[in-house]
Structures are given as structure tokens and as C-alpha cells.
């Protein structure tokens, strides 16, 4: 599914290396959790994979479904099946959520050689998805994320994921700032989508999310590299001991 080899990247504006030789292998159907202290490069990884401007890959390779991901435009990555749930979803006033979702779904379906959904079928799918994430249908008519609360924005991200049916979804701290109810809604959305041909990367600070979405692997990212990998028990250990002991161990 996703194969990352020796990925090195820097933020252009700060001329600062963030990822320093990251390796990760994600197979179909797997759920990986990436944890790590602030500044370890967790969000940078998501941005680099999604193709955000301002991040420069200086070395390494990323293959997604056998293709060179880093050579693709951002929109092509999405059409191939990569989805990034943003930590801070962007507000786009004046463009309705519905217009935005239809444009997205049409683009992705067209790329996959599927007929565009007619507006009735689309509306039905959108309503069902909004029910799953417990977001009132009125939000479909509002501007994209416009005036949404933090929790509503995160639900809207999961709603998009449900409609776009990605092969690989990266959730960038989707759990941060969520109350327990919203967290369960997010987890429900992810769990409903788990499938043998779909994978997830959960980037998170807290073990809490992993009570609701059980990962197959847990990785610790520190100093731009994965310094330790394990199963879900590693997350519990981190919760208990923090990250300090790992840094000592690595050193």
C-alpha cells in the first residue's frame, strides 16, 4: 500500500530539516498509529505525503500502490486514493459544503473510471454520511467549514473520507481538541471503513484515540525518524512513561 524509504524533508521557509530518514511500510488493511513528542515531525509527514507547498523532500522515496507518490500532483494523489484528514481544516466561505463535496467526489470517481453520481444519489450519499458522523444536514448547505466548531470541522473531515472512499487515510491529530462524544464519532467513522484493502495512519499525541480504534502497529516518531515500533501495548507504555525514556534508549 504505502512504502516510505529513508524519507528526508525540510521546511523551505525555515531551512530546517524535519524528517531525517523515515522508514515505514503500511500493508493493505493495516492500521498504524504514529505517536511522538511535539516537533518530532508527525504533521510534516502528513503534509509531505499530501503534497503541501513549502515542504521540500531532500532524499528518499515514497511508493503508494506501486506508484511514485512524490512525483504526483496533490490532486492526483487524492484521486489515486490518498486522503489526509487535516489537523486544522480550512474554512472556505461562499463555497457550500455540498458544492465542494460534489466536486471532490466527481473528480475522484472520474479518475477511477466511474460514472459521476447524479445529484439525487449524491445527495442521498451525503446525507447518510452526515448521519454517520452525526453532523446535522444543515451543514451541507453552509460554506465549507465556515463557522464550524473544532469538533464539527473534524466530523466534516470524516464525512469527506466516507464519501471519497480512499485506499489510505491519514488522520493528522484528528482527536486533538475533541470531547469524548466527538472522539467516538470519529472512531465510529474510521471503524466503519476498515477493510482488507484500506489502510489507516493515525497521527496522535494521545493513547485515548487508540481505545476506540485498535491499531495493528504503533510507532514512535522522534527527531524525524521512527525510533521504536511495536503493537498497541507500546501506546499504553508511552502513556505511562512519556517519551523521555525512549530518547535515552536511542541515545
Amino acid at each position: 500500500m504505502l512504502s516510505i524509504e529513508n524519507l528526508q524533508a525540510r521546511i523551505e521557509a525555515e531551512d530546517k530539516a524535519i524528517l531525517k530518514g523515515l522508514n515505514l511500510q503500511v500493508n493493505p488493511g493495516e492500521v498504524h498509529a504514529i505517536m511522538g513528542p511535539n516537533g518530532s515531525g508527525k504533521s510534516t509527514l502528513g503534509h509531505v505525503l499530501a503534497g503541501r507547498e513549502g515542504y521540500q523532500v531532500t532524499d528518499g522515496h515514497v511508493h503508494f500502490l506501486g506508484k511514485d507518490l512524490l512525483a504526483m500532483e496533490t490532486e492526483d494523489r487524492a484521486r489515486e486514493g490518498l486522503f489526509l484528514a487535516f489537523q486544522y481544516p480550512v474554512e472556505i466561505p461562499g463555497v457550500s459544503n455540498m458544492e465542494f463535496l460534489k466536486a471532490s467526489v466527481d473528480a475522484v470517481r472520474e479518475h477511477r473510471g466511474l460514472e459521476p453520481l447524479d445529484s439525487v444519489s449524491f445527495l442521498k450519499a451525503a446525507r447518510e454520511a452526515s448521519k454517520t458522523v452525526e453532523l446535522d444536514q444543515a451543514f451541507l448547505k453552509r460554506g465549507v467549514n465556515e463557522g464550524f466548531s473544532g469538533g464539527e470541522k473534524k466530523r466534516n473531515e470524516i464525512l469527506q473520507m466516507l464519501l471519497l472512499e480512499p485506499r489510505l487515510a491519514i488522520l493528522d491529530e484528528t482527536d486533538s481538541g475533541l470531547d469524548i462524544d466527538a472522539l467516538q464519532v470519529v472512531a465510529k467513522g474510521v471503524n466503519a471503513m476498515r477493510a482488507s484493502d484500506r489502510s489507516f495512519i493515525l497521527v496522535t499525541h494521545y493513547q485515548r484515540l487508540l481505545n476506540f480504534i485498535e491499531p495493528d502497529f504503533v510507532h514512535v516518531l522522534s527527531g524525524g525518524r521512527i525510533v521504536k515500533s511495536g503493537d498497541k501495548s507500546l501506546a499504553l507504555e508511552l502513556e505511562e512513561k512519556g517519551y523521555g525514556w525512549l530518547e535515552d534508549e536511542v541515545a
Binding site: 499530501a50 503534497g51 503541501r52 507547498e53 500532483e73 496533490t74 490532486e75 494523489r77 487524492a78 484521486r79 486522503f83 489526509l84 487535516f86 481544516p89 480550512v90 472556505i92 466561505p93 461562499g94 463555497v95 458544492e99 465542494f100 460534489k102 466536486a103 471532490s104 466527481d106 473528480a107 475522484v108 479518475h111 460554506g143 469527506q160 471519497l164
Partner: protein, 439 residues
């Protein structure tokens, strides 16, 4: 350049009702000896009147003939159940206008058909807000005036249907100019929606419209005023909208202008009664080599008045936009609240916008703010859309549309919004496929 003024003032008058001839003469007197402002005049620094210089725009339009072309397609707004009055090249067209009887307490009549009583009211209020001495184009408008439209809404009368007032131009053999004039008297406690709709046939226009609109809004009255400039780009327009608000009166203005060879609109709102409120929203969208210039002035003359003004523009290609927004708080006008923002998007490195917000405050207990920005599309918004599979080109169309649509959503009339949306979308997407999710 001055030949235009001389020719315009010397234009032979025909067809004006007798009671207007005094005004025609006053206009000539007020304009005599004056010259068109040049870019050396501060108020006209960024807008050249050169397009008026050549081409004989001082000439009168040809008399109205029965048209072989179905003109209604150029102004019909689907689902808008409105009373419609239509002027073609400045002349009233009975056949294109609604024939419905006006509700009780409402006069809506062309000057040429005004009763004696109505003519007296018109005469009393024309130029009560507009100023032919201080503004040459108003003097020229007065001197040319043979037709206009008068609306009077009597005390406590509420007009349910919107009034759609159409000024349509058609191309003629020779360049021509005409005076557009609207006088609205909203008496105490009355309510109405007025849509001034400037449009044209699709072929290259050679009309110059010199417009003056006066909106006299009485105590506790409310006027929703739309002014839409959707003419073909060859049409020239210099217009003036003057409004006055009496105690607790309310004006909601929505302005929209496509660009053209010359398009200049001066808006002046006077708060003359305590508790009056004005909301102004406007958008301008020049592209190619077009030009748009909005000059707005909000006069807060008495205490406890408020205004909220938002203008946005998208300037494409080699087009140029000008926005000048002035707020003037008079001495003693305490507790005024006045806020103005102007945001501009430039979608090409050859596009230009000249924006200037101005605050002039002579009272010490007021809340005022103003701000202007010029920017390009937001990179994070663009990225967000692309991470969802939307192409960069379509993302640009969506974002341009959203920037303007946000203001359009403040316009109260759903049929008007529905009418304008696809027109906006097609402006931003030269390939219609890119606008397909917006229609």
C-alpha cells in the same frame, strides 16, 4: 475633451415635458464653462474620462422603434415576481413594462406620464440630494433630462413585490448619450425593494449612460436597493446614487458591477435622522482590459447612526478597479458606529486595484473601523481543495466564486441571487466545465 461638455450642453432638447424645461435650463447654467475632470483631479485620479472624449457621446439617442429583437431576454429574472419598468436607451418602453396596476398608495410613473400633482412632487425633490453645482455630470443629467422614473410609497405602505427598474441599451448607428434618472420617495414607515438593473443587448455597445438616482427615505421607512451593472463591456456609465435617511430609516444596498470601458459609480448616503442604519454590500468584477470605479461616501450627520459597508472585487487579466470609501462623522454625531472593509483579489500580475478607505471624524465618542486588503487566492484554501481531488483550475474557480458569493448571500432576494450566481461562475470559468459544480 471639453468639446464633450460644450456639445452636451448644446444638445437640442426634445420631448421633455414642459415642467422639466426649467431644470434643463438650470443644468445648462450649472454646467456652463465647466470642463470634464482629468486624472489631475484627486477624485478622478485613477479613472480617465478619455473614452468620452471621442465618438460624439453627447449626441442624443435615436427615437425608440418597435424592436424586432426580443429584448426581454436581456433582463428577465426567472422566478422574480416583480413589477417591471423598462427604459430602452433612456426612453420608456410601455410594451416591455408591466401593466399591472400599482398597489394603493404607490406611484411608479415615468416623468413623461406624471400627473400634475406628481410632477409637482418630482420638481420639489429632484436635486434635493444630487448636486448639479458641485458635480458636472449631475448638471449634464439635468440639462438632458426628458424622461425619468418616479416612485413614491405613501406612509406605512409596504410593497410586497419587488420593483425591477431596467435601463437597457442597444447598439445604434452612432455613439449616443442619455440621462438616466430615478427619484424614490419613501414616506414614513413605508417599505419597498427596488432593483435598478442596467443591462444591454449582447452586441458591442456605444451608449453613454449618465445616471442620477435619488433615494429619499423617510422616518422608520426601509428600502432594499439593488443596483446591478451587467452591461456589455463597451457601454459607458457614469452614475451617482444619493440617499438620505431620516430617523430610524434603513437602507440595505447591494451593488454589483461587471467591468467596462468606463464605469464609475458614486454612492453617497446621508444619515440625517437618529437611529438610521445603512448596510452596503458591493462587488466588482472587471476583466480583460475593463475598468470599474466605486466611490462611496457615508455622511453621519447626527448622533446614534450606524453603517456597515463591505465591498469586494476580483480583478483579472489587465483590468483595473478603483475603490474609494469615505466615512465622514460630523461634529456632534456621537455614538456613531461605522465600519468599512474592502477586500480585493488580483488573479493576474497585470491586474491593478487602487483602494483608499478614508475616515474623517469630528466626534469623540464613536466606533469606527476601516480596512482594505489586496491579495491573491489563499494558498491553504487552494491546497485543501486539491487534497480532495479537485483540479487546481477548478479550485481557483471555486475560490473566486466563493469570495464573491459570500457577499451575494447577503442579498435578500433569492431569485436575484439565483440569477447572478451562474453569471458570476461563468466569469471565473472561461471553460464552463470548471463551473459545473456551481450551477
Amino acid at each position: 475633451m471639453n468639446d464633450f461638455v460644450v456639445n452636451a450642453l448644446g444638445r437640442e432638447l426634445s420631448g421633455a415635458p414642459g415642467w422639466l424645461t426649467a431644470l434643463n435650463r438650470q443644468g445648462r447654467t450649472a454646467g456652463a464653462g465647466k470642463t470634464l475632470p482629468t486624472i489631475r483631479t484627486e477624485d478622478w485620479k485613477y479613472t480617465s474620462l478619455r473614452p468620452l472624449q471621442d465618438g460624439g457621446y453627447a449626441a442624443a439617442p435615436e427615437p425608440l422603434r418597435a424592436s424586432v429583437e426580443p429584448l426581454a431576454t436581456h433582463f428577465e429574472v426567472p422566478d422574480l415576481d416583480a413589477l417591471c419598468m423598462v427604459f430602452v436607451n433612456g426612453q420608456f418602453s410601455e410594451s416591455l413594462s408591466s401593466s399591472d396596476a400599482m398597489p394603493e398608495g404607490v406611484s411608479l410613473v415615468p416623468f413623461s406620464r406624471a400627473s400634475e400633482a406628481e410632477a409637482a412632487l418630482i420638481g420639489e425633490h429632484l436635486d434635493s440630494l444630487a448636486n448639479p453645482e458641485g458635480r458636472l455630470f449631475t448638471a449634464l443629467n439635468d440639462s438632458w433630462l426628458s424622461e425619468g422614473l418616479f416612485l413614491r410609497v405613501a406612509e406605512n405602505v409596504r410593497i410586497e413585490k419587488p420593483l425591477q427598474l431596467v435601463w437597457l441599451t442597444t447598439a445604434q448607428g452612432e455613439n449616443f448619450g442619455f440621462a438616466q434618472r430615478l427619484l424614490v420617495l419613501m414616506e414614513q414607515g413605508s417599505e419597498a425593494t427596488v432593483i435598478e438593473h442596467f443591462t444591454s443587448t449582447d452586441d458591442a455597445q456605444n451608449a453613454f449612460c449618465n445616471g442620477v438616482t435619488e433615494l429619499v427615505i423617510g422616518a422608520d421607512a426601509r428600502l432594499d436597493h439593488y443596483r446591478l451593472h451587467l452591461e456589455e463591456a463597451g457601454a459607458l456609465h457614469v452614475g451617482n446614487v444619493c440617499a438620505s435617511l431620516d430617523r430610524n430609516a434603513r437602507l440595505n444596498g447591494f451593488h454589483m458591477a461587471l467591468g467596462g470601458r468606463l464605469k464609475r459609480i458614486d454612492l453617497a448616503v446621508r444619515h440625517r435622522g437618529e437611529g438610521s442604519h445603512c448596510e452596503l454590500n458591493g462587488v466588482y468584477l472587471p476583466r480583460n482590459r475593463e475598468h470599474v470605479d466605486y466611490h462611496t461616501v457615508l455622511e453621519h450627520e447626527v448622533p446614534h447612526t450606524s453603517s456597515e459597508e463591505t465591498f469586494r472585487g476580483i480583478v483579472a487579466d489587465q483590468a483595473r478597479a478603483v475603490f474609494n470609501g469615505r466615512i465622514h462623522i460630523h461634529p456632534g454625531a456621537q455614538k456613531t458606529q461605522a465600519h468599512l472593509t474592502n477586500r480585493n483579489l488580483l488573479t493576474s500580475n497585470q491586474a491593478e486595484v487602487d483602494t483608499k478607505p478614508e475616515l474623517e471624524i469630528y466626534a469623540d465618542d464613536v466606533q469606527c473601523s476601516h480596512g482594505a486588503t489586496v491579495a491573491q487566492l489563499d494558498a491553504s484554501q487552494l491546497h485543501y481543495l486539491r487534497t480532495r481531488g479537485v483540479s487546481e483550475q477548478e479550485a481557483r474557480v471555486l475560490l473566486n466564486f466563493g469570495f464573491i458569493n459570500e457577499l451575494l448571500n447577503r442579498a435578500g432576494s433569492e431569485p436575484v441571487r439565483q440569477y447572478l450566481r451562474p453569471r458570476l461562475a461563468s466569469l471565473f470559468a472561461r471553460d464552463p466545465n470548471l463551473a459545473r459544480h456551481l450551477l
